[in-house]
């Protein structure tokens, strides 16, 4: 009886058996890459806001301190988005008729909030506290990037847990002197490693063993 399959079938079956492993691996890699890509994490994606507010202009050009608008950053877990009142402090005087600012004036007139789009959106089971990071010498720039160069704000890091842990394991790499916390483009004056270690001791930063406890962020 003649063979049912031609000899070349052996090669095909070998390739497909071994190829399946690679194919599965490829799929996994693709899934992982997708998961880490800006498509999922939204890293670096500029978000369209109801008002095209430019941090580049307000922070970079005007030099307004972060805390003028984000008043609670030193006191609370949440660094507040400024109320319409804060915008109107200036914009009743300057650019008071600008069509760009109509949503702000409308909010002021109708007492309805401006629906800002959340850029840094942590999962609901993560409890981040701004005030403790500021108090312990982590600069705004460390997580938010050079907002003074962002016309529209985008998410600077991936915001994945690995990124959080990088710093919680080695906090000294991201510590600044207190007067530089709100500075954009901070450059350490001297050996960064030494300064970091010195600051960690001064701020009494807890050891990584404690900083990486699950309940530090999850509860």
């Amino acid at each position: 009886m003649a063979q049912i399959f031609h000899r070349s079938t052996n090669t095909v079956s070998r390739v497909s058996v071994f190829g399946a492993v690679f194919f599965l691996g490829l799929l996994l890699w693709l899934f992982d890459a997708l998961n880490r890509s800006p498509y999922t994490t939204q890293q670096g994606v500029a978000r369209v806001q109801p008002v095209q507010f430019s941090h580049q202009h307000h922070v970079g050009a005007m030099g307004i301190d972060c805390r003028y608008c984000h008043t609670t950053v030193e006191r609370a877990s949440f660094a507040n988005i400024p109320p319409t009142k804060t915008c109107m402090n200036c914009h009743t005087q300057i650019w008071a008729q600008s069509p760009e600012l109509e949503p702000v004036r409308e909010s002021w007139r109708t007492d309805a909030s401006i629906p800002w789009v959340k850029v840094y959106d942590l999962p609901d089971y993560v409890y981040f506290n701004h005030s403790i990071h500021v108090a312990k010498g982590v600069g705004c720039e460390t997580c938010h990037g050079r907002v003074d160069r962002m016309p529209l704000v985008s998410q600077h890091p991936t915001l994945q847990m690995a990124w959080c842990l990088d710093c919680h394991r080695e906090p000294e790499k991201n510590l600044r002197p207190r007067d530089a916390i709100f500075t954009m483009g901070y450059v350490p004056a001297g050996n960064p490693e030494e300064i970091g270690k010195k600051l960690a001791a001064e701020y009494k930063i807890r050891p990584p063993m404690e900083l990486t406890d699950c309940t530090t962020c999850h509860r």
């Binding site: 609670t72 789009v117 959340k118 005030s131 108090a135 404690e210 699950c214 309940t215 509860r219």
Partner: protein, 994 residues
């Protein structure tokens, strides 16, 4: 009626066998329930299947595999979704005091039976989420009870009355004002003779003044107050003894010897937290007080007694008379029968004259109250352990008579307008009055109520009432202290307060509650009004508003002849339910699912009877019986209650709602249907007929078994003082510090731990509800409770010791022990439960895949699993009650006590920002904060000076199941008792009649 002893069925509990079994036990043996004692089939099933699973799911193997395959695929796919875009809505003009994400606290009051108890309500961005006691308030002292804790859930109840309606049609407020105006025009010429106001007990000075103003205008109108748990007997008792209606105010901290005549001062009442704190301040070995309790049905107070006697109501009266004769109250020595127990109590009271206290419960007839007052006077306690003040409630004390008169007038058609402010009279008034029927003869019926309930159905106008946390008002505590209630949130359903409805009857019909209350106090506060007003709001009480003590002199009074007329056969006792009270909390899921402190029943009430009574009737737990009294019948499941007085059947009212809401309806039976105005608390001569049906009850008492070990340790104060080491030898010793295969974990800056003092814990459940409120714990429903799936992170175990008829009762709160060598951690395949450097046994919800291995391996059975989507993720208003600092758990996730890690972190942020260590007492867990007895202490066990370390250093400290080498961080302090040397413990079994 005739009792017949029938042959036992295999399904029920055989009480006779239980008695035999108990006879075989010697020494200090504890038992949890009759089922456990007998190891019934049901109990064994509970034991061996920690969570009872459905036996027949209706799914075959192939179908199951298909479903599993599909669910795995779908579960994988859910991981692929991207986070949806979220928006932030900042304020337009920010309120000055609000920092987003930071809570604010406001002092206001929780009303219980009309009396105020100070609370601090916690609010995030104008959304109240938690209620706790107010340290400054004399009735609270920082402690709270289950009702105050759970009141927050009532506010967010989607079943609340949401609109103003007239005969079912939605109407504006102005329409009601017009209707009231019309009524007033009709009533004015006849001096208001057709107008009646029906309220609950009112202690609000503003409301009292408003009603008085209306009655001054319309002198023939009447105001009636009805509270199903009213304290008529208290006032009648003081009137009998002193000739005036007075409110006794107790100082339990000054009493060496306390006798309670069925007064449940540790378990209920507006001043319960105060009473508990004062009482337990004397439960330390060196300064131990002694508590004698006689009562018909077991209460929390009875559970803490050093000597407790179950007595029928008639026997309590004669017992009170005997003790009164013994302590030298004149004029009653003749008739009092001799009783060794009464003599011993009398002798003990007498030897502590001036530092003793006799308390009578609201359920006792006026004569017993009068006897208690006479005893206190004879013992020289007045002015020391008890003082008397005026009544904060302004209505006639005889509420029942006034209500009966109102019903008579209504039935005769003499009432043209009835205004019902709060309450639920169509449901909770005595059955013989038939209030609902009489009420329908009234021409215009206006109702202000939180719910669209049984009474609303019979009213023309229904006004949605504002919740206490939405209202401006004021109210007095028992001692007269005034609290001004302030709202934390605008009324969710544009509800109105009683003040606003009454204003409609005044010259200023549209005045706001705020202005009404403020104007009432203008000129009455000391000093500058604005400053005093702000201070009163801030402190939660008005300075100097407590009533002064009134001098009293005992008059001679006749003893109530009722004692002799009480039928010695079966007596039916009516009591408010320990968790849903008079029915006003029936739609509160937290309270429905809360295990009742003595029975550990949830979602139902039952007819409680003594084992001996059940034996005589031939019934057992879960048998349905028909109770009939004066021609009215009610069917109820039986609950065999150790410690119940023989011949007494207790039913709790509040259940059997027909229009209570989605949670309330269909639970339990209506005990009010048997309650008559003559026999409000005890109805002698009830008939009980056995039916052939059984009714499953959901109890939590034997869902977790401790396999015959002794989790509770108790010792007499004398024995402990003599040999403090006695507690340590009651259980097996723990293995040595190095006898373990677990790796030694590094220790962080703090080591959190907890100590629970069983000597001061009264088992009141406040911690359970506080934890539920703080940690967003869902309810699961009766059917799931029966399967052992109740979710509360704290359970309070109840143990009995001794005889079936009069056992000693112990309560033990059990929660996650945060073991240093935690058995749960090593079995988790996904590292979802791991140890923190500070000793927390962390539960990471987002890692948990729901294998439940951890729960299987936990020796304390304190882990809870979300078998279904128990948390409500869809009803907007129910989401508002959630604590924003705690994750809301989804289906398939394990959860358990976290030591309130959100509170630890909050304290840590505050401390670290100031570069200092966390101070002792800075972290207060939710259970610790709620505990009226301060039985729970939390802190750093590595700091020898911390409160928790000092507590743990006491010789009566012990750990639960330490022999397993788990090294629990939560430990216990043994319960101390102080039995009288005159009453030898051997005398106890003498009460056995079987």
């Amino acid at each position: 009626m005739k009792f017949t002893v029938d042959s036992r069925r295999s399904t029920g509990v055989d009480i006779g066998a239980a008695r035999t079994k108990l006879g075989e036990l010697h020494g200090r043996e504890y038992w949890r329930s009759l089922e456990e004692l007998l190891e019934t089939d049901d109990f064994r099933e509970h034991l061996h299947r920690e969570f009872r699973v459905p036996i027949d799911s209706g799914v075959d193997r192939r179908e199951l595999l298909t479903l599993m395959g599909a669910s795995i695929a779908l579960a994988g796919l859910t991981g692929c979704t991207r986070q949806p875009t979220e928006r932030i809505y900042p304020y337009v003009k920010p309120p000055e005091e609000i920092v987003p994400g930071e809570p604010l606290f406001y002092a206001t009051a929780h009303l219980h039976e009309g009396y105020a108890r100070g609370v601090l309500a916690k609010s995030y961005e104008g959304r109240p989420i938690k209620v706790d006691g107010n340290d400054l308030h004399p009735a609270s002292l920082g402690g709270s009870d289950v009702f105050a804790q759970a009141s927050i859930l009532n506010m967010y109840d989607p079943d609340r009355s949401q609109t103003l309606t007239e005969r079912g049609q939605i109407r504006p407020w102005s329409a009601l004002l017009a209707a009231v105006k019309l009524t007033l025009e009709q009533e004015r010429p006849r001096r208001g003779s057709g107008l009646r106001f029906l309220t609950t007990t009112v202690t609000s000075p503003t409301l009292q003044a408003q009603i008085a103003a209306v009655l001054a205008e319309l002198p023939d109108a009447k105001w009636i107050a009805w509270e199903p748990t009213g304290r008529e007997n208290v006032f009648a008792g003081t009137k009998l003894a002193f000739g005036q209606e007075l409110q006794p105010v107790y100082a339990f901290d000054k009493a060496d010897v306390v006798l309670s005549l069925e007064a449940d001062f540790l378990g209920s009442g507006p001043s319960m937290p105060r009473h508990v704190r004062d009482f337990v301040s004397r439960r330390r070995a060196e300064t131990m007080n002694r508590l004698y309790v006689v009562e018909s049905t077991p209460t929390l107070t009875g559970a803490r007694a050093d000597h407790r006697r179950p007595l029928t109501p008639a026997a309590i009266e004669s017992f009170a008379a005997s003790v009164a004769a013994g302590v030298g109250v004149g004029g009653i020595s003749a008739g009092a029968p001799a009783d060794a127990f009464a003599d011993a109590v009398a002798a003990d009271l007498k030897s502590h004259a001036g530092a003793s206290l006799v308390v009578a419960g609201e359920t006792q007839p006026p004569a017993v109250h009068a006897l208690a007052h006479a005893m206190n006077a004879a013992l020289g306690n007045v002015g020391k352990t008890v003082r008397y003040v005026g009544s904060a409630a302004d209505t006639p004390a005889a509420q029942t008579a006034a209500l009966a008169e109102l019903v008579g007038e209504m039935a005769d058609g003499r009432v043209s307008t009835l205004v019902i402010l709060g309450g639920n009279p169509a449901f909770n008034t005595p059955a013989d009055l038939d209030f609902g029927k009489a009420m329908q003869k009234v021409g215009l019926r206006i109702r202000l109520g939180l719910y669209n309930d049984e009474t609303s159905r019979l009213c023309h106008w229904n006004v949605a009432e504002a919740h206490a946390l939405e209202s401006w008002s004021d109210a007095r505590a028992e001692d007269g202290t005034v609290t001004i209630l302030q709202p934390l949130i605008a009324p969710l359903f544009s509800g109105k307060t009683a003040h606003e409805l009454l204003a409609a009857f005044s010259a200023e019909p549209e005045k706001s509650a705020h202005d009404i209350v403020r104007d009432q106090w203008r000129g009455k506060l000391p000093g500058d009004f604005e400053a005093a007003w702000q201070k009163s709001l801030h402190d939660g009480l008005v300075d100097g508003s407590a009533f002064p003590s009134r001098p009293v002199a005992v008059r001679s009074f006749p003893l109530d002849p009722r004692a002799s007329t009480l039928d010695p056969s079966l007596t039916l006792l009516f009591r408010p339910d320990p968790t849903i009270w008079d029915g006003s909390y029936a739609n509160n899921g937290w309270l429905q699912e809360l295990a009742k402190p003595m029975t550990k029943l949830t979602w139902d009430n039952a007819a409680l009877m003594a084992p001996a009574t059940a034996e005589k009737l031939g019934v057992t737990t879960e048998d349905v019986v028909e109770l009939s009294f004066a021609g009215r019948r009610v069917e109820a499941p039986v609950w065999v209650m150790p410690g119940q007085a023989e011949g007494c059947v207790t039913i709790h009212f509040g259940y059997g709602r027909t229009r209570g809401g989605r949670v309330a309806d269909g639970t339990g039976f209506n005990a009010y249907a048997l309650r008559e105005s003559r026999t409000l608390w005890a109805a002698p001569g009830v008939e009980i007929r056995k039916t052939l049906r059984r009714y499953p009850l959901a109890t939590t008492q034997h869902q977790h078994s401790m396999e015959g070990r002794a989790p509770v340790r108790a010792v007499t104060a004398a024995a402990y003082l003599e040999n403090p080491g006695v507690v340590a030898h009651m259980g097996e010793p723990p293995p040595g510090p190095h006898d373990t295969m677990y790796p030694q974990l590094p220790r962080g800056s703090y080591a959190w731990g907890m100590a629970i003092d069983l000597s001061t814990c009264v088992g009141c459940n406040a911690c359970v509800i506080a934890c539920q409120s703080e940690n967003n714990i869902p309810i699961v429903g009766k059917e799931q409770v029966q399967r052992g799936r109740a979710m509360q992170w704290i359970r309070i175990d109840r143990y009995y010791k001794g005889s079936l008829d009069a056992p000693e009762t112990f309560h033990q709160p059990v929660t996650c022990m945060h073991c240093e060598n935690a058995p749960c951690e090593v079995v988790c395949p996904v590292n979802a439960t791991v140890h923190s450097a500070e000793g927390l046994n962390q539960m990471v919800y987002n890692r948990c895949v729901g294998t439940r291995y951890c729960s299987n391996n936990c020796p304390y059975k304190v882990r809870r699993f979300n078998f279904f989507l128990y948390s409500d993720f869809t009803t907007e208003i129910k989401k508002m009650v959630n604590n924003p600092e705690v994750t809301v758990r989804s289906r398939g996730v394990m959860e358990k006590c976290s030591y309130c890690v959100q509170r630890i972190n909050r304290a840590r942020y505050a401390a670290e920002k100031e570069n200092r260590p966390i101070k002792d007492g800075e972290i207060v867990t939710a259970c610790e904060q709620a505990c009226p007895a301060r039985a729970i202490t939390f802190g750093n066990v590595d700091d020898p000076e911390s409160r928790v370390s000092r507590a743990k250093a006491e010789k009566r400290g012990y750990g639960l199941l330490v022999e397993l080498g788990t090294r629990p961080r939560t430990s216990y302090l043994a319960s101390l008792s102080n039995p009288s040397p005159a009453l030898a413990p051997a005398e106890e079994p003498e009460k056995h009649k079987a």
